[in-house]
Each structure stands twice: as C-alpha cells, then as structure tokens.
C-alpha cells in the first residue's frame, strides 16, 4: 500500500546500519532497481495489456479503447484516462471502499507521467470533431504489494499502451460504427519511464522495496521521456530533500530510466 505500514524500529535500524556500509537488506546496490518482468497481452480481450512484476510487487494494466463523447471544451481532442486501484488481496492492510489519499495520489501521479509526456497524442483520437472521439482508458490494478507502486503501475500502463491495438470507427447515421479488420497500433510518441527514489537517513535508494518504503523519510518519483527530458515529478513523505539530493535524483532517474525503457520496449515487442 502506498502509505507507511507499521515497521518495527529494529528493522529500520537494521536498514540504516546496512546503508552505512553501502548495502541494502536485499543485497542490491543503492542505485539498483529490482528484477522487472513483464508479460504483455496478459488480458487478450482488452485492446492492450501488461502484467508487471517489480520484485514482489505485481500490477496489471488493461487498456480499453472505445468511442466516447469529447469533453465540452475539447471537441478536437480524444480522451485519455488512467486509473489505479489497490486491490484488497494485495496486502493485509488494504481495505475495501473508496480510495484513500495515497491511492488517489498514486493514480494521479501515474496518469500525469503518461499525460505530460504526450505519449498518447489525443489530437489523433478524433472520429468526428465535437461529436465523437476515441477514449483510451488505462486501468491499473495492484495485485501484490512490496513497495514502490508508482513505478510498478507506471511500467504496466506504459507497456500496455505500447501493446495496444486501436480499432477504427466511422460515423454512420451520426453514430460511430466499427470498421471491421481496420485495427492499427495505438499511435504513441514517446516512452515515459518513472523512477522512484527514497531517502532513508542520508542515503538515496532507487526502487525501495516494502521494508524500505516503510522506513523512508521521504521519496520522489521522476518521470523521463525517450529524449531524456524530465516530464513529471512528485515528492512525498514527511521529510525533505536538499537541492543536491534532488539534482542527484534527477540524474539517477535519467540513467536508470534509460535502462528500464529498453526493458519496456523489448517486452512490448513480444506482442
């Protein structure tokens, strides 16, 4: 879950002790993300999908593409909506019911990462201006929790969108009608990749696992695009970063982001 779980002081001091020696509790280097495995087309009936395992955190994203009415003042733009839900089976502390602020933050940060990078060009999603547009819905669910939902959800959404096939619609009698056999790849312009870093004591670690997430003082999620630009950022947690730390995080996010981008690209190709 995105909020702090109860961690005993014993574990936090263990983590700090190891960090002082340049080590992490699971043996990774401080700037090393966990093993990332992706299964594309996990939900064949959706227009695109991906099942992501980042360490023991697991998420599934399904993309549905269907005709929709445009927003009132945006008749020349299609719709892109990204949601995230923390499923109660993912962790014993997750409750059913309306999403809490942590989950809402998670969904909005993942959405912004994709939206601000302009990965999906909504001006290409118009069927008839002011009347009918294409709606692209990327819905993410978290199935198993072990820290860093921001990145696990972001990778699922990005890969699912890269994997997506968009049907073609034509207006007939004022209604969008499916044109059989005219599917194409969903047009995408870039590959946004988020990298989340946590500050524990004076150390910055990349891709915190569940125990590190519960011990951290603050965190920042930075999303970069295929050109190496930073397109979205979100800081969270109860402490603060120094300027130097944030600059370092920016650099880490570009470097690590580039490596992960290759993984996402290769995974998407396997569809």
């Amino acid at each position: 879950m995105a909020q702090k779980s109860v961690i005993d002081e014993l574990k936090k001091s263990q983590i700090l002790e190891l960090l002082a020696q340049g080590k992490r509790i699971d043996g990774r280097a401080l700037d090393e993300p966990r093993k990332l495995s992706i299964e594309v087309n996990a939900i064949p009936k959706a227009n695109g999908s991906a099942r992501v395992r980042l360490g023991d955190t697991e998420t599934v994203c399904g993309v549905k593409i269907q005709p929709d009415r445009p927003f009132p003042d945006m008749g020349d733009k299609g719709i892109f909506i990204c949601t995230a839900e923390l499923l109660p089976l993912s962790h014993p502390s997750v409750e059913t019911g309306p999403p809490n602020p942590d989950v809402i933050e998670l969904a909005r940060v993942v959405d912004r990462g994709v939206r601000e990078s302009h990965m999906v060009d909504v001006s290409e999603l118009v069927i008839e201006k002011n009347k009918s547009v294409v709606g692209v819905f990327a819905d993410i669910v978290v199935v198993d929790y072990d820290g860093n939902l921001f990145d696990a959800c972001s990778y699922a959404a990005t890969t699912a969108l890269l994997n997506s096939k968009m049907p073609k619609w034509e207006m007939k009698d004022d209604l969008p009608t499916l044109v059989e056999g005219a599917e194409s790849d969903l047009p995408t312009t870039t590959i946004p990749v988020s990298v989340t870093m946590a500050k524990i004591g004076d150390h910055i670690v990349v891709d915190p696992n569940g125990d590190e997430w519960a011990s951290m003082d603050c965190r920042v999620t930075i999303t970069t695009d295929s050109d190496g630009n930073i397109v979205a950022m979100q800081k969270g947690g109860f402490d603060g970063f120094t300027l130097d730390e944030i600059i370092k995080c920016g650099e880490l996010s570009i470097k690590t982001g580039a490596q992960i981008r290759e993984t996402l690209k290769n995974a998407a190709k396997g569809s």
Partner: protein
C-alpha cells in the same frame, strides 16, 4: 444477461457448438494454487477465456469490532470485476450485480468452511475478475475454494462449480458468453463433491421439468470435472513427491 439473438448458430447439425465443443464438453480449465506473496492463500483460474485471481486473508481481526461474532468466525466475500475485464469498459465502482454475486458465492462457501474454532475473526475472500467470458461466478467459486484450502481454512469439503444450460433446445455443459447471450437457459451450480450437496444454484431461462433435471445432472457432472482440477492444483503445490512423505 442480455437478449436472445436468434441469428447465431449455437449448435450445428453435427452437434458441435459455436466454439467447436460437444454438448457435454467444458471449456479448457487450468487452476493454480498459490501465487500471491502477501495473501494467506491464493489461487488463479483460467476457465475458457475467463481469467480470475482469488486472494484469501484470515482468520484475522474484524474491524469494525461490532461486525465480529463472539461464537464463530465470519466469512466475507468480494467479487469484483476490473474495468478492462469486459467488452465495454466497466466503471470501477461496485455494481449491484457484483454485490449479488458476492453474496451468492459467500453462501456457496459457508456450508463448507468450519469457522467455529475462530470466534471474533473474519476470513476474507477477494475475487478479482481480470477477464470475463461467461460463467465467471462458477470459475470464481472454484478458485475461491482452492484459495481457502491454500490458506489453511478448515473445510468439510471443497466446493466445485460449473454451469449447464440450454441452447438450440439442447442441454449443454459450461455455457460460454455467446451461449449465455443467445441461448435459452443458463444454470450456474456450486457443489460439494464428497458431501453431495448443491450450495450454489441459479437459473436464468425457461426449462420444462425434464430439462431441469437433466440440466442439474449435467451441471453436477461438470462440477466433478472441475473438482479433479482443484485437487490437481493442490497436489501440485503441496504433494510434490507424491504418495508418501
């Protein structure tokens, strides 16, 4: 469950159904016990094109306290469909259909679970439909039973499940989505195979008394097939060196 469409060919002259199956043939089924790291028990099922994940927590504390029972543990079931699981994207908020199915599945599991040794606790069953293609409640119930066994929740029997129905005036086993939309009856059944008890039974459609009897019998035969796969799933996880320890 949609209107009846008379144009689709549900059963051809050779007795073959729209997806190539014979009338007493279930879809391809795969069940796996375990798989989730945090849940106390879990299971995953693919039943035709249905893909369903179940996680179980418990026995565990009940919040709010007033919902707990001082004599016995309580069972809670949540059947939930992901927005991307169906043809037209579904709103994430729980629908009345999901709430009804949650209740029906809970009442199919209650006769099997033994919770009187866990007063003041709850056992939570979370069913997530990742992809739906007709018959999700039966597939979900079968997986839930495996997840409960995986969690070590005491049960007097497993609960298997399968649907039977009628299409083109013929009783068929395991109704798929097209047959559900265009056929004449759909009867999901939940069944405890050793105690020989039906714990889930619903019907949507029209059956005369003979058809009704045949439909139930066909469904139970399907449940027995599913039961063998539930056993296999647990054996594969727990009894790896087979036979004796």
């Amino acid at each position: 469950m949609g209107g009846r469409d008379s144009t689709m060919v549900l059963l051809d002259e050779n007795g073959i159904r729209c997806d190539g199956r014979k009338i007493d043939e279930p879809r391809k089924i795969m069940i796996k016990a375990g798989g989730l790291k945090n849940a106390d028990g879990s299971a995953y099922i693919e039943f035709g094109d249905n893909k369903i994940l179940v996680g179980v927590y418990g026995p565990r504390d009940v919040h709010p306290k007033h919902m707990s029972n001082t004599d016995t543990g309580i069972l809670r079931v949540r059947y939930h469909m992901e927005p991307f699981s169906v043809g037209e994207r579904k709103n994430p908020a729980p629908s009345r259909r999901e709430i009804e199915i949650s209740k029906v599945i809970k009442e199919a599991l209650l006769p099997a679970v033994i919770l009187d040794k866990f007063p003041r606790t709850a056992v939570d069953v979370f069913i997530e439909i990742l992809q739906a293609d007709g018959g999700t409640r039966c597939a979900a119930l079968a997986a839930a039973s495996v997840a409960l066994a995986d969690a070590g929740i005491p049960m007097r029997d497993m609960v298997a499940a399968c649907a039977a129905g009628k299409a083109a005036d013929t009783i068929i086993l395991d109704v798929n989505n097209e047959e559900d939309q265009a056929g004449q009856a759909d009867m999901p059944i939940g069944y405890m195979p050793n105690l020989d008890k039906i714990t889930l039974l619903q019907l949507d459609g029209v059956l005369n008394p003979e058809e009704f009897k045949k439909c139930v019998e066909t469904g139970i035969a399907g449940c027995k097939i599913v039961y063998e796969l539930q056993k296999k799933a647990l054996q594969e996880k727990y009894f790896q060196n087979g036979g004796d320890q």
